[in-house]
Symmetry: C2
Subunit: 181 residues, 2 copies
């Protein structure tokens, strides 16, 4: 596909680094990037193990959440496994098809779905958990158990400090002012 813009000219319009024109924090100091990179470094360790059991990261999160309780409503599960409704809905459909979970509806409220892990799901967890724990132990050893706990605390504190902050409309003040009541 020779779709490229065949711009044979000497990069004419391409000027100097825009960083001089658009003042902006150095990319490497972006907190979201740091969190993303750290998480990816961690997940890279787990993914092959999950993959060998045909589990995605999210499916594993759901099974773990289900394994800790007897049964749980879908909305509550979404909160626990930190998944949005639509994602959870799709994943539950697949996990049910694989018979790793069981569903019914809540008594007295047919809107609510109640989910629980199946025996087959428990067996799968038993197969995965040992290696998962081993990997976690290796990470903890490598990074330092104490430091790891400290990191967890700081992450929790960050989350807590931003809870209910909602800065999302900051630039509304900068640009146009309030649009909504």
């Amino acid at each position: 596909m020779p779709k490229r813009s065949a711009n044979g000219s000497r990069a004419g319009a391409i000027g100097k680094p825009a960083s001089r024109r658009v003042p902006m924090r150095d990319f490497s100091r972006s907190l979201p990037m740091a969190l993303l990179r750290a998480r990816e470094a961690v997940m890279r360790q787990f993914r092959p193990s999950l993959r060998r059991h045909d589990l995605t990261e999210q499916q594993w999160r759901i099974l773990r959440a289900l394994a800790a309780v007897d049964a749980i409503e879908v909305t509550e599960l979404a909160r626990t496994a930190f998944l949005l409704g639509p994602s959870l809905s799709r994943i539950l459909r697949d996990l049910e098809a694989r018979r790793l979970i069981e569903r019914r509806s809540a008594e007295g409220d047919l809107r609510r779905g109640v989910v629980s892990i199946s025996e087959k799901g428990v067996k799968l967890m038993s197969a995965v958990a040992p290696s998962s724990e081993a990997i976690y132990a290796a990470i903890s050893r490598r990074y330092g158990t104490r430091k790891l706990a400290e990191l967890q605390d700081m992450l929790g504190a960050l989350e807590a400090s931003l809870a209910g902050l909602d800065l999302g409309d900051e630039d509304a003040k900068l640009t146009s002012g309030r649009k909504f009541a």
Copy 2:
């Protein structure tokens, strides 16, 4: 702690919490979850602002990376913006269609693509950067600037400590190389 045992729970009846049968770290102490939640808490602040400018998080990452340089090869950009090739390929196609970036191919090697931000892209960045910086400042204020720097350091250290570790085959040792059926 009770040991895991397939104690033949009744079929159909939903048994007791599987946590008794599958020993596993408490879900709330999962490092990947903590990182995910923290990152989401941060990104939740930025997303509305980006959305007002019709930018996704990844598109913004790319523009930021491009703004810091004159031009950059696709592979290098993927590393900088921490995106996989296929994702980057799609996003560049869209950004080019919106004329926010410009592409050409490297002299002497037609395989390599070279990307740079366009004037229009720079203008867009100029429109977004102020609110982005304001949000970042608010987060820093709220969490503590010093603490934030410390967190960044610890995240970097975590990433570094896991670099080249690759525990992915840990459970191959545990399961004796059971083949997938």
